[in-house]
């Protein structure tokens, strides 16, 4: 029996802790570090960056991280798997190569996985039979086609494993599934095939548990008061074995905790039907997952069953869908909530008088009801409340005008109003999503490994 491999995830989303991946590499044993930078909205932002400059369109934070950690990666022989490539894995690799040259490093092999980005290929794919009907509503795609900003396929984990088998130290991908980043090294190390359904299912569950970083180690945990040392919280590590079982843990001296309860909470995060979790490589029955305590901060995950997956990949396309803005005012003193409601009335009335109606508008009272609506009774007296006003419309000009109507309340409305230091809220573009399916046979992924 070969010894377990240690896979840690140091980045749950673009914007997650800068230090977490460095600590995973430095503060204890680790074989693989995975990094997830991509959300749906990120893809459209990156695509627009690439449209302006063909050398952009990837997660620039990753390049800085490589600058800080390449020496330790080569020294300790750690493999890094990151979806930092966004819509331009080539340019991302070039940037990391340049960093390696600056540092005087040689022998670094970087692999890229491509084929997920189908934006330029849409016309050909439609001619060969892909209809890209909306996955939830069944709407026809044709009328949306001109508006599409980005189009990416959630591809399999096997191409990443292929890059590892070609000797890559660092692998940069575009859009794949988040759990695939963790599944791939298990496929490579243990020689799993597409028919090893239970093992692929186990690796997918490992990826699901790790994909949101510290949400497996005490982050977001209901009984937060039990979690030691949040400030130095450790990011999760899977000790994976060839039989598909794995132990979730963290570096010994890191903060946070790993218990059956922190793991079970993360297993149900973003869960649909637990009996049928679809991924590109396998469908997983989450009702077969067994958790066993095997020591302090060590939970064994086992018993997982997989089923054959579908004939399709999921496609995520983004398109521009109007504008929105939000602004806040802080209202304090006697009858703070009453005054805040009055402020809201005044602002919407002024906008109406000026001839501005919106497709959607909203007033929320932070401190009273913005998260839980009417579930709790609204307090009669509250020391201070934040009024959050928002509007959405297809017309950018209207949203811009809305943003100018908030600050005047500080001097021409009720007393005790403050907190408008941030300036007028600017219209933000709304990026909406068009989920669809594509026949797997129509998608070609490819792997390329180069050495600096």
């Amino acid at each position: 029996m070969s010894k377990p491999i240690l896979i840690g995830n140091g980045q749950g989303f673009w914007g997650d802790s800068i230090d977490a991946p460095v600590k995973l590499m430095k503060d204890g044993p680790i074989d693989y570090v995975t990094l997830d930078y991509l959300a749906e909205v990120t893809m459209s932002i990156m695509q627009r960056q690439k449209n302006k400059d063909p050398n952009r369109g990837y997660a620039t934070d990753f390049v800085q991280l490589m600058k800080d950690t390449l020496p330790i990666i080569l020294d300790k022989n750690i493999k890094v798997i990151a979806n930092a490539g966004g819509v331009n894995p080539h340019a991302c690799r070039q940037a990391v190569f340049e960093v390696a040259k600056e540092l005087g490093l040689t022998g670094l092999k970087i692999g890229i996985v491509e084929g997920d980005d189908i934006l330029d290929d849409l016309p050909r794919l439609m001619q060969t039979g892909a209809d890209f009907k909306h996955l939830d509503t069944g709407e026809e795609f044709a009328s949306f086609r001109e508006k599409v900003l980005s189009a990416n396929v959630y591809i399999s984990a096997f191409p990443i494993a292929e890059a590892l088998s070609q000797g890559a130290d660092v692998i940069i991908t575009g859009r794949g599934t988040d759990p695939g980043l963790v599944l791939a090294p298990m496929i490579y190390e243990f020689g799993w095939t597409k028919n090893d359904l239970d093992k692929l299912a186990a690796g997918t569950v490992a990826g699901h548990i790790l994909e949101c970083g510290a949400q497996a180690t005490g982050g977001n945990f209901t009984r937060w008061w039990e979690v030691p040392n949040y400030a130095q919280i450790g990011y999760p590590i899977a000790e994976a074995s060839a039989d598909g079982s794995f132990v979730v843990t963290k570096h010994e001296k890191a903060g946070g905790m790993v218990t059956r309860d922190t793991i079970s909470e993360q297993i149900v995060y973003e869960m649909g039907d637990p009996g049928y979790y679809i991924s590109p490589d396998v469908c997983v029955d989450f009702k077969t997952i067994q958790l066993t305590d095997v020591g302090k901060d060590r939970v064994k995950v086992h018993g997982i069953k997989g089923m054959p997956t579908t004939e399709s990949y999921k496609v995520s396309m983004s398109y521009l869908h109007g504008y929105k803005a939000s602004g806040t005012l802080t209202i304090s003193g006697p009858d703070a909530y009453g005054k805040a409601q009055k402020c809201s009335e005044i602002i919407w009335e002024r906008l109406r008088d000026a001839g501005f109606e919106f497709e959607e508008k909203q007033s929320e009272y932070l401190g009273v009801n913005s998260c839980h609506g009417d579930i709790n009774p609204h307090p009669k007296q509250i020391n201070e409340v934040v009024l959050r006003l928002s509007a959405r419309d297809n017309d950018r000009h209207k949203i811009s005008r809305f943003g100018k109507e908030i600050a005047p309340l500080i001097t021409n409305g009720p007393p005790g109003v403050t907190g408008f230091a941030g300036g007028r809220p600017k219209p933000q573009e709304i990026v909406a999503y068009w989920p669809a399916l594509i026949d797997k046979k129509l998608v070609n992924t490819h792997v390329n490994v180069e050495e600096v």
Partner: protein, 110 residues
């Protein structure tokens, strides 16, 4: 029987799925799981969330984790980047379900 909040016998986490959220409600022990399985119906969850949830609520049982998984359909005011809500992704719905009341046996140790 005595009346307690769900937070006394269970823990929870929520996340977004398009314009819907899921809330995983995990019982602290077998007795608590029997209680939530019996008491916390999809209808009760929908009523509890009031005007936050515009669609139906689906319920799935996961006995292996002593968990009920609820899908709160149409609960994010458009979802994704379209929603105007402060809690755009339903991150707080897990905390909200723990405010529900439930009856447990008198000898249930809190």
């Amino acid at each position: 029987m005595k009346r307690v909040r769900l937070r006394d016998i269970a823990h929870a986490r929520s996340g977004d799925k398009g314009d819907s959220t899921n809330v995983g409600l995990l019982a602290n022990n077998e007795i608590a799981y029997e209680v939530i399985k019996r008491e916390i119906t999809a209808e009760r969850v929908k009523a509890h969330f009031g005007n936050i949830v515009r669609g139906e609520v689906d319920r799935f049982e996961m006995p292996n984790l002593m968990c009920l998984n609820f899908i709160l359909n149409d609960s994010l005011g458009g979802g994704g980047s379209e929603t105007l809500r402060n809690d755009a992704q339903g991150k707080t719905h897990g905390q909200a379900i723990l405010l529900m009341h439930v009856d447990v046996p008198d000898d249930y140790e809190l």
